[in-house]
Structure formats: structure tokens, C-alpha cells
């Protein structure tokens, strides 16, 4: 049942894909012409959905608390920007031999490259650190996130601390929600598949899962790599939306932002996390006037939530839907 809901949501979102190849950032039918501000909020919502849903696979479904999510986003952002900004023309001319390629194809290649690069980084980080549990894993992933940031800061080819500017704004509403739909679909169906029960088993009781013959390390690493892939996509979307990235933008606090979304939505609930991504992005915008209070509110939210409602505010969100009453 749950998988059907995620599928439904996913299919609905796939509708947005039609905007992808329209090439301009303004939405058209069925939505009215948005003004730029509203559009940028919608795109941010989409990006946050992608990164929160992917982190949820690791932190929620598999129960491996990672604090290095921003690191993978950084890898995806830099990886994709590296393609479009630095090697874009080469690739275009290489491919232009066969067909004249629209910019969207280049963006697709860049996104995929960023995502795959992040996934490989996820594997490199995950294989050693996933032998650890709980708090240790949290600290080690945090450490890896910091190391990625420090490496970027010290690599002159990627702009160092100044970052990369002038990234083409390829990210449209369609791209964002297309990727969001893909993330929801993949994570939702993966977790509800026969194979995916292993993730939940690892979360619920690692020792028991191991005793039942589940290769817990493999599951953890797979969750990590898939999560990293989608956070890489989120990073790529972000880079081509903002147009400027620097290592400082992917620091620990960026990870915390995503973690707050996952916790608020309820760890292990794709629907809840999706809703939380929408709510928190909007809340972020509302609190922008009072920027200094924003993190205080988030911090209090974390503390109070953990004491009163550790399963998340919106975890049982699905139960409220009429067609899920029976479940």
C-alpha cells in the first residue's frame, strides 16, 4: 500500500518532466506564470526533497545516522559544475560530431556525472565507516564531510575557497521535480521491495539481521551509495540553480538542515520527509527576515521533538489520508 502511494506521488511528479526540455525557467501550463521568487522557492523545495529523501534512506530506513550529507552534495555540485563549466564545451564538441546537442543533454550528463561521482565517494566513505555504529558513525561521517570540504577548499582547479561562479542556470522546475520524483520513486520502491526489507532489518536490529543471514555491511553500503547518488543530484541541481558554489556552503550546518528535515518528517517515512521538506523550506523563507532566530528555532525543534515525539511530526502523515485508513 505504502509503495503504491509513493508511486502515485512519483507519477504525479513525473508530470513536471514535461517542462524539462522547454529550456526556460518560467513554468507554463498547468501553472500560471510564477514570479521569480515563488519559482525559486519551488525549486528549493524540490532540491530539499531530493536531498532529504536520499538522506532518509540512510538515516531513516537503514538507521545509520550520517552527518556528512553536505559532503556528498558538494561532490555532486562540483562534479556537475566541472562538466558544464569547465569541460562543457569539449563534451559538446565531442558529441556535436554526431548530433547537435541541446544544453539539456549536457546538463543531464553533468547531473549524472555529479551523482555517480558522489556515489563513488559514498562507497569510499561508506566501506570503512559503516563498520561503526551509532554515535561513532555520526562523527566519522561528519569528519568525512569536513575532509571533503577541506579538500575542495584547497584545490585550486575548483576555485579553492572562492568557489566556482558563473555556472549556467540549467535547473528548471521540471528538472527539479523530475529528479525529486525519481528519488521518491527509487527510495520508496527500493525500501518496499523484497530486497529492501534488508534495510529495515538492519535498522530494527542489526545483530538479529546478521543472524538471519543478511549481509548488513552490504546493505549499509548500498544505502549509503544510493543516498549519496541522489544527494549528488541534489547538489548538481543546486549548483545550476544558484549559479555559484563554494566549499563553505556545504559545511556541517548544511547537513544539519537536511537532518532536521528528515527528523521532522519522521525517520523512515518517505511521505513524511517529503512533506517536511516542503514545510521546512517554506519556514526557512518565512524566517529569512529573522535569520538569527532561524537556527534557534531549529535547535529547539530538534530538542523538543526528540523528547515529545521522536518518530517525527509527520511520520504518520499517511494514516490521515482516506485511502490509507485501513492500514
Amino acid at each position: 500500500m505504502k509503495s503504491k502511494i509513493s508511486l502515485l506521488i512519483a507519477v504525479l511528479f513525473f508530470g513536471w518532466l514535461s517542462f524539462c526540455f522547454s529550456g526556460h525557467r518560467e513554468a507554463s501550463w498547468p501553472l500560471p506564470q510564477f514570479d521569480g521568487y515563488l519559482l525559486s522557492i519551488l525549486i528549493l523545495i524540490g532540491i530539499n526533497i531530493v536531498s532529504a529523501v536520499s538522506l532518509n534512506l540512510v538515516n531513516g530506513h537503514t538507521g545509520q545516522f550520517s552527518l556528512g550529507h553536505a559532503g556528498f552534495m558538494a561532490v555532486g555540485a562540483y562534479g556537475s559544475a566541472w562538466i558544464t563549466l569547465i569541460h562543457g564545451k569539449e563534451i559538446l564538441s565531442l558529441m556535436g560530431v554526431f548530433v547537435s546537442m541541446p544544453a539539456e543533454c549536457l546538463f543531464l550528463i553533468a547531473l549524472l556525472f555529479g551523482g555517480l561521482f558522489a556515489a563513488v565517494t559514498g562507497l569510499i566513505v561508506g566501506i570503512p565507516s559503516l563498520r561503526l555504529r551509532g554515535d561513532y558513525l555520526a562523527i566519522v561521517t561528519l569528519g568525512f564531510g569536513e575532509i571533503i570540504r577541506v579538500i575542495l577548499q584547497n584545490s585550486d582547479a575548483l576555485g579553492g575557497a572562492r568557489g566556482l561562479a558563473g555556472i549556467a542556470s540549467y535547473t528548471t522546475l521540471g528538472w527539479t521535480f523530475g529528479v525529486a520524483a525519481l528519488a521518491i520513486y527509487v527510495v520508496g520502491t527500493l525500501v518496499n521491495s523484497t530486497y529492501g526489507r534488508g534495510f529495515l532489518a538492519v535498522r530494527d536490529d542489526e545483530i538479529a539481521a546478521e543472524a538471519m543471514g543478511i549481509n548488513t555491511t552490504k546493505y549499509k553500503v548500498v544505502a549509503f551509495a544510493v543516498g549519496a547518488f541522489f544527494s549528488g543530484l541534489a547538489g548538481g541541481l543546486y549548483a545550476h540553480f544558484i549559479g555559484y558554489i563554494n566549499p563553505e556552503g556545504f559545511n556541517f550546518l548544511k547537513s544539519v538542515d537536511v537532518v532536521v528535515i528528515v527528523i521532522l518528517g519522521g525517520m523512515g517515512s518517505t511521505a513524511g520527509v517529503t512533506v517536511a521538506a516542503v514545510v521546512l523550506t517554506l519556514l526557512n523563507e518565512l524566517l529569512r527576515q529573522t535569520e538569527q532566530y532561524r537556527m534557534i528555532v531549529f535547535a529547539l525543534l530538534l530538542i523538543v521533538l526528540m523528547i515529545l515525539r521522536p518518530q517525527g511530526l509527520i511520520a504518520d502523515f499517511g494514516r490521515l489520508l482516506p485511502w490509507r485508513r485501513r492500514a
Binding site: 569536513e146 575532509i147 537532518v259 538569527q292 534557534i296 529547539l300 525543534l301 523528547i307 521522536p310
Partner: protein, 307 residues
Amino acid sequence: MNEFLQQLINGISLGSVYALIALGYTMVYGVLRFINFAHGDVFMIGAFSAMFGHSLIKRSGLVMPDWLVALVVLTLSMVVGALLGTLIEKLAYKPLRERPRLTVLITAIGVSLLLEYVGQLVFGAAPRGFPSLIESKSLGGFGSLQLSSVQITVVLVSGGLLMGLRAIVMRTRMGLSMRALSLNPTAAALMGVNTNVVISFTFGLGSALAAAGGVFYASLYQAIDPFMGVLPGMKAFIAAVLGGIGVLPGAALGGVLLGVLETLVVGYSKVLGIPSGFRDAVAFLILILILLFKPTGLLGKAHREKV
């Protein structure tokens, strides 16, 4: 050679600050089995309360010798740290005693962010100068070797505090209760150990040490800001893991070791071919290596996992 000794001295004075903070992590881990993420922020509050305490004394017009001012300021910030630590434990962690560790970890991250951003709101984000509590003068006598009075005082007072802590843990009834609790909480409770009191005491003691560490760190670098606790806090945690978490001498050893390693890597970055920007990555690299190859730390003992 002189340069090496110089780096070593700088490393030890930084390392003794790490050691003070690491002890708090290790003590809390010993009794509650969780990482108190907010520990680094107690360190920050300690530094700020020392700054305010110092200006208060200066403004009150009391005539005191410098060493007494320093002592009063240090004591004040340790008391503030202890109160804050126990308060955090009571409000945030105590309701979660029986919950999964992940829940407590997330709460700790929340408390840490709360302290940082409330600090930013109250103290402002810009770094502030820290008053010199001890007159900073060079005691250098061996060739080009520079020994500053601040460094020596930091190392000596830290050492004294470590000795005091050891006395509390090994010689007092409360220390005995702490050790019992970390060995087996249920059995300790059955033997009449008042768990809540001991846990509060542990938090208070650890936080007081962190606050002292904050004062020393601020004296060494002479600038404080609301986020100054983040990196030293994490490095101190790494130091605790390096020495073996839950083991008190381990935390002290790990702290000094980490301080020295870090300073040496930065000092010899050109020789080693590592850009000095990687300073903060060094600690994390050490953490990853130690967790992979000797997860119990240098002095820790292995625990079998029971089902």
C-alpha cells in the same frame, strides 16, 4: 631541532586544552554511553563567562593581584560551566534516559546548535578580544626557543586540574559511585548508588573542566566567538576516542597526543607536502584511522557485544 622543540611546546599547550575537554566527553560517555555534542559549546560559554567576569572585576574597582583575578575568573567560569552542564543534563538528556541512543545524539546536536546560536544572538557573531589574564611574557632562555608564560601556566594548571580530577574519581565516594555506574548501571543502582545525582555530578564536573579549557584556549589565542567551541569540541572528542573512550588517563593522553600531532603537521606542512589548510582534516583522519584499526583506542579495553 629548536624548531621541533618549539612545535612540541606549542603542541603540548594546545593538547592540554584538548585533554581537559576530552575528559568531559569520556566521563559522560562512561556513565551514559553517549557523546555529548554540546560539550564544545560549554567550552565556549566558559570562555565568555571568563571574559565577562574579568571585565566585571576590573570595573568594580577592587584591587587584586593579577594572579588572584585570574584565579577568581577561572573559578567563576568553571562554576558557570558546571551549572550549565547540569542544567543541560536535567532539561534535555534526563527525559531521554531509556530512549535509543540515536534520540539522545540528535538532542545533543540540538542543544549544541541552540547554545551556539543563542550565543550568537547574545554575544554577536564577530570575534572578541580576550583579556590577558596572565601577563604574557617570553621566558625564552634556550637559544631561539620561545616559552611564553601563558603556555607554561596553561600546561601547569591543566596538569593540576587533571590531578584534582583523578583524586576525585579515585579517592572520593562520589568517584567510586561514578566508576561503579560506568561499570554496570543496574548493579550500581541496586547497590544504593543514586544514579541521578551521580550523572548530574559527572556532567557538572566534565563541564567545569571544559569551561576551564575554554579559558585556557582563549588565553592562548586571545579571541573568542560563539562558534569557537565547534572544532576544539570535535577534536577533543577525537582525542577521547584516540585514548580510549571511557578511560580517563586515555583522554588526557589522547588530548596531548592530538595537540602535538596537529601542531607538528601544521608546522612541517611544507616538508610533508600537505597544505596547512588541511590542519582540521588531520584530526578527522586520525579519528578514522583509529576507529578502523584500533576502535578501542590506545588505552581502552575491548567490550564483547551481548545480545
